[in-house]
Symmetry: C2
Subunit: 409 residues, 2 copies
């Protein structure tokens, strides 16, 4: 009988308890022994809960119990999660977490600590919710060198963009619906709509793919607030959809660039058909080519089922997983991992006649022009070219309202 503890009895923590109980037979067979929750740590009062006897308020109670072999962290944030996870690993317990902020900030350090103590630190549920991405990436692609990862990793913004496209709806209205459905936070939806959530996830995937720690602060990140119904219609005329894409790639010289940005995605691209709250991650291996992992991202039981799969993995394989799931520490630096490669770019400019755009952005095609604003698809322009064009637009008294690069294969 394996005994585990859950830290934080919120949505995911509660789901872990439920999944373990509902699918106890399958979990027990695969883990090689039954798996039982012995403690739940939560500072709130659960004295009326049917499992009241499991609740404790002090981590040391859990760590003092030699029977506990795996600790599940579902508190979120880093304030408590970080010291608790360190302590648990340091005490020789494997840790499973769904906490992307923790992994994106302290992943390298916690992996090294786990390896040193001979235990596992696993976090499949931190990216893609329940959809398997991390395990297939490091295990099934073990014979590949990974050159590129790109995907739709934030379900909230993908739901909103789908809604905007299908129902001809503006950003504000789509956000309101996402909030009503509980997909976006009511107080401050910025973590989703401005990109930080996607940024943490691509930081984790880049760290796995390229073998050293990448920090969210070094990844250029833009969200979907400036996208209008007009932009979506213009994209459709270009046979594209607009998606918030998180990407990371390594060039032939080993230089890594990464970003989170709304992009034009050609309808022929596999990511173009990923709608609603679904997530999809494309991984390119040097032997395998492109593979895509696709599924509904978040949700209580999907996420919890990924946590439980990691618990089984930790019980069965322990630290051995870190020969494969591991990356080196690195220091955050000043600056951004910006992609210098030229690309086709959609630009929307206000307050200038459309006729000046070819002179500013080079060869391309006029996509729309309502007199006040004009949209132009530049065929091939570098970030430096875009910056230069922006200076000229400003000097002429206009303003650049939106830039979307096109995602090409």
């Amino acid at each position: 009988m394996a005994k585990i503890a859950i830290l934080g009895f919120g949505t995911v923590g509660g789901g872990v308890l439920e999944v373990l109980r509902r699918n106890a037979a399958g979990v027990s067979r695969r883990a090689g022994e039954p798996v039982e929750v012995k403690y739940i740590l939560d500072i709130r009062d659960f004295s009326a809960h049917p499992d009241a006897a499991l609740f404790v308020k002090d981590l040391d109670t859990i760590l003092a119990d030699k029977e506990v072999s795996v600790v599940v962290e579902t508190i979120g944030g880093t304030k408590f999660a970080y010291p608790y996870v360190r302590k648990a690993l340091d005490s020789g317990r494997s840790v499973v977490t769904s906490n992307k902020e923790l992994v994106a900030t302290h992943g390298a350090e916690l992996l090294a600590l786990a390896k040193e103590r001979g235990v596992a630190f696993l976090f499949e549920a931190s990216v893609g919710g329940g959809t398997p991405v991390i395990t297939p990436m490091h295990q099934c692609l073990a014979a590949n060198v990974i050159d590129r990862v790109q995907g739709i990793v934030n379900g909230t913004t993908n739901f909103m963009l789908t809604k905007m496209a299908r129902e001809n709806m503006g950003f504000d209205q789509a956000l309101k619906i996402a909030q009503e459905l509980g997909y976006a936070e009511t107080k401050d939806p910025g973590d989703d709509v401005d990109g930080p959530d996607a940024c943490r996830k691509i930081a984790i995937l880049a760290s796995i793919a390229f073998g050293r720690h990448f920090y969210p602060k070094n990844i250029p990140t833009r969200g979907i607030r400036p996208i209008t119904v007009g932009d979506i219609a213009a994209a459709a005329r270009l046979d594209c959809v607009i998606k918030l894409i998180a990407w990371a790639k390594r060039d032939d010289e080993g230089r890594v660039t990464a970003g989170v940005e709304p992009m034009l995605v050609p309808k022929s691209n596999q990511l173009a058909g990923v709608d609603d709250v679904f997530n999809a991650v494309l991984v390119k291996g040097d032997m395998l080519g492109d593979v895509v992992f696709y599924g509904k991202g978040a949700g209580r039981l999907p996420t919890a089922s990924a946590v439980v799969a990691d618990v089984i993995d930790a019980l069965k394989n322990g630290a051995a997983v870190h020969d494969s799931l591991f990356w080196q520490p690195s220091e955050p630096f000043e600056g951004l991992l910006e992609d210098p490669t030229p690309a086709a770019c959609y630009v929307r400019v206000k307050g200038l006649p459309a006729t000046v755009l070819p002179a500013l952005y080079g060869e391309g095609e006029l996509v729309s022009d309502d007199g006040a604003e004009a949209a132009y698809l530049a065929s091939h322009i570098s970030p430096a070219g875009l910056a230069e064009a922006k200076r000229k637009v400003d000097a002429l008294g206009g303003s650049v309202r939106l830039v979307l690069r096109r995602l090409d294969d």
Copy 2:
């Protein structure tokens, strides 16, 4: 240093050697030790090959060498592969194979033998080529009960159907192109176009999902020969595409049904956008919902990279994987695992006036009528209803040329 042997130096076997050498550093790190090919078994003459020294003609030479810990089987078929794999497992070696016929025919027995001998029997490359499907299914979905698996698992037919749809081309011409490109066999393309290849793959996936051996002979299997350009155009008018779908599902009472058949796939379905030689497998877990694994199926290096990932897994985890990757033996029976559920069905009937179709097939809509043949979409009809309608069509002097069920979510 881990030593392995490769049985059969064809396309995949040669690819395994190449992948191991090209990505030696990553393989060595993940396996925890370098991995070296010590023997290659092949009855053909490779005396002029740069690695001539590795070639042997007798399995016993390999099994007599205690250093060999993993045997890779890439011979294909079962005549030699089956006794060789049995012998290798029996001698305490882990075996990795890409051979779907072997696994679909003898999987349960070989898994039991591996477990008994404390070694691993792995076969990720038998389904989806290099695309990870089997490992995510049993490992990442370990906390789920799987209710359904369905997918596009034969790249050749998917290439042909894509070609037919995009270029308005008949079956024969599409087959000719597939043969010229090496996607279909020249002598007898039946293994792909009539469905047996897809049937073996869904037999393997059903066995993993539902925990007991399912035999190809019990899975109703139809191929794509009767599909015409007219059918594809008719499907498009119904907002569908035609795909060869391999599926297996378990109902609430635990009864498993399965099949391989061309189906109408609504364009909104995630499988509808899977084109060319790409494969995709959708797995439905009770906690997780739908996940899809998508990638280019076959190919020398993609398939070999999946074999090498299994070699690493075998070296690191050995028999422990079989707590999760395992199914019970069962006897093949007479009969078919046919789905009795009513579905929307496209039928094409020759030699009868279109006006009689509603009386035969119930409520529905006429899709096309060129005077000689008429196509009709029945809204809701069971297999028994279809059989009854066919008897009536025959009695009236007509003939049923095609039946396609619609894949619904």
